[in-house]
Point group: C2
Chain length 353, copies 2
């Protein structure tokens, strides 16, 4: 463990109960039947607890989309060439990807990070380069990365989000890009939730039955070869994880340490959350699960962490696309709490009896 | 039947198949695995069909929130005093209600209509007055309104949305306000779906078990006394409906006649949709079900119409709050289709094999 990670974990405190009670009190005075805005009301109270403010504020919004490559693609676990990771990074930088469109729609910045893309990327003022290595090693034959690399990945995430916090960040969403990254995510999910590999392994970007069976086989082999220890989350990350997964775990820890709510995206962000919440169990209360992905392991890992997704739109793109939608709901919930009139203010009669 | 309603129904055509095929073709060339944006992709294709444009445009957005009172409150079917309908209309006009906050968040106008509030409302430049009568009659003892009033209510909805279309409307959401209006909605739902009253009757703004049993009893009596004929939707509206429900049915018909997508809100909008789709079955394809309400009949009426809700956030406020969130998703889906780069444009490799 590094000092930065230890200190960050130690800084994450339980949610602000006083702010939550005040937020709930205000919700109950607003001109609507109590509870009638359902999960939007609960979300506003959670945000109050995270920010320790009775009326939370969501103005400065960002998605941190981290990219990394995976040596396990050598085992042919997917249908897309590895070069797509780098090509999609350029697409993010040019504003043409799904995450760019949805982030513009919700007025969130997209922060693109090279955590370990296999290709050498052209330098770009919009690209944060925190490349730990040019892709992980093949987890089917050995560990994905060294322990030191795992620490570096998590630290990068903490540092990047901390830098954003100093600029005034109010909420962060997590996103990923990495050809092959449902494979390490499924491996992490199996180890951390205790579910079988077959239960948590999905079709990624569109595998046939035969290809899916092969992917399950590869993940089983990765777990046998590496014996990751679920009690040591950074050991799991090093043995069967990915650089972008480690980076996202760091983003979550760093954000929570600064009272910033984290909207997590799909399966890959979920795997990162499994690592991060194992390091800091109280982090769970800072997380907002944007959606449940089609990728079948996602629902299990959310359940394991006690997180209930806001949306179920049959999405499975990653990049932070689901998280961006979740940020919209979070901002909406905060505005409801801040801007709706109370019964007294509006001169509306309350419920009888 | 009136000429306006007959002509409007006759004007609603099947969705534009050519535009839908082109939209789907473009979706499949965008830089993401095909189908990976799930329901957002399907939604963009539906919008293309409704607008008959390969790349649908959602810029000018409005929620039409219609208010009306219900004579059946004499039977004590709810916990809120009738005066709240008028008080909430003022709250809408002052921008302090839930719908105002969410509509601002999605940049949609709120058009407030008095379809039949019991109180005489102060005139206001922001309020459309189409008052059919000062509240309906008590459906537990006779029809809610005359046939002529039912026609007037539906016509008002058609005229209001048509006026908006001439100003450039791209999408409309429906909303309601009316103390007691889950009672006529449940009555309509039972008649039109063939389900039992007990199945489709919910707790509205918060009834106890005893109060719920009484509400079921009142609705059963309303159906016995009035014998509404499910084959005659305007008869159902007149006998057990409401002025805002008729108005919203008119909004749906008028919008579809002008190729404007309609995002429907919760249980009351759903009851209006049952009337409107019975008049014009093809209208169904123009409707987007924003969410499924906590009000238990809602899921049954959506199923009856073959509509799948986008959201499930435990909401039950009405006003158009769910519809406003649905408008956000619709606009997002259209922007994805319009703004994402294709594989060729972005120089991204496609799936292998």
């Amino acid at each position: 463990m590094s000092e930065l990670i230890i200190n960050t974990v130690a800084t994450i405190k339980p949610l602000g109960k006083e702010a939550m009670a005040q937020a709930q009190g205000r919700q109950d005075m607003l001109t609507k039947p109590q509870g009638s805005l359902g999960r939007l009301e609960q979300l506003s109270v959670q945000l109050a607890g995270v920010q320790c403010k009775p009326v939370p504020q969501i103005k400065d919004k960002a998605i941190i989309t981290m990219a990394g490559d995976h040596g396990v693609v050598a085992e042919k676990v997917g249908n897309w060439p590895q070069e797509v990771t780098a090509q999609m990074v350029y697409n993010f930088l040019n504003g043409g990807a799904g995450i760019n469109v949805i982030a513009r729609q919700v007025d969130a910045r997209v922060i693109v990070v090279d955590m370990g893309v296999a290709t050498e990327l052209e330098s770009n003022s919009q690209l944060l380069s925190r490349k730990v290595a040019s892709g992980t090693q093949n987890i089917a034959v050995g560990p994905a990365m060294t322990e030191d690399q795992a620490l570096k990945a998590v630290e990068a995430g903490i540092e990047i989000v901390t830098e954003e916090v100093t600029k005034g960040l109010d909420i962060v969403g997590t996103g990923d890009m990495g050809i092959g990254n449902t494979t390490p995510s499924a491996a992490i999910c199996a180890v951390m939730t205790g579910r079988s590999v077959i239960e948590v392994t999905g079709r990624g970007t569109g595998l046939t039955d035969e290809q899916l069976a092969h992917k399950v086989e590869v993940i089983k082999r990765a777990l046998q070869v590496n014996s990751p220890d679920p009690k040591k989350p950074l050991d799991v990350l090093a043995k069967v994880g990915g650089f972008e997964i480690g980076g996202l775990a760091g983003v979550m820890l760093g954000a929570a340490a600064h009272h910033i709510p984290v909207v997590i995206d799909g399966f890959i962000s979920g795997a990162a959350a499994l690592i991060a919440t194992a390091l800091a169990p109280v982090l769970k209360d800072y997380l907002i699960a944007a959606h449940v992905s089609v990728e079948q392991g996602h629902k299990f890992l959310l359940k394991h962490m006690g997180l209930k997704p806001l949306l179920n739109l049959d999405m499975r793109l990653g990049e932070g696309t689901g998280a961006a939608l979740g940020i919209f709901l979070a901002e909406t919930s905060a505005k409801i709490l801040a801007e709706m009139a109370t019964f007294t203010e509006a001169g509306v009669s309350e419920k009888e009896g």
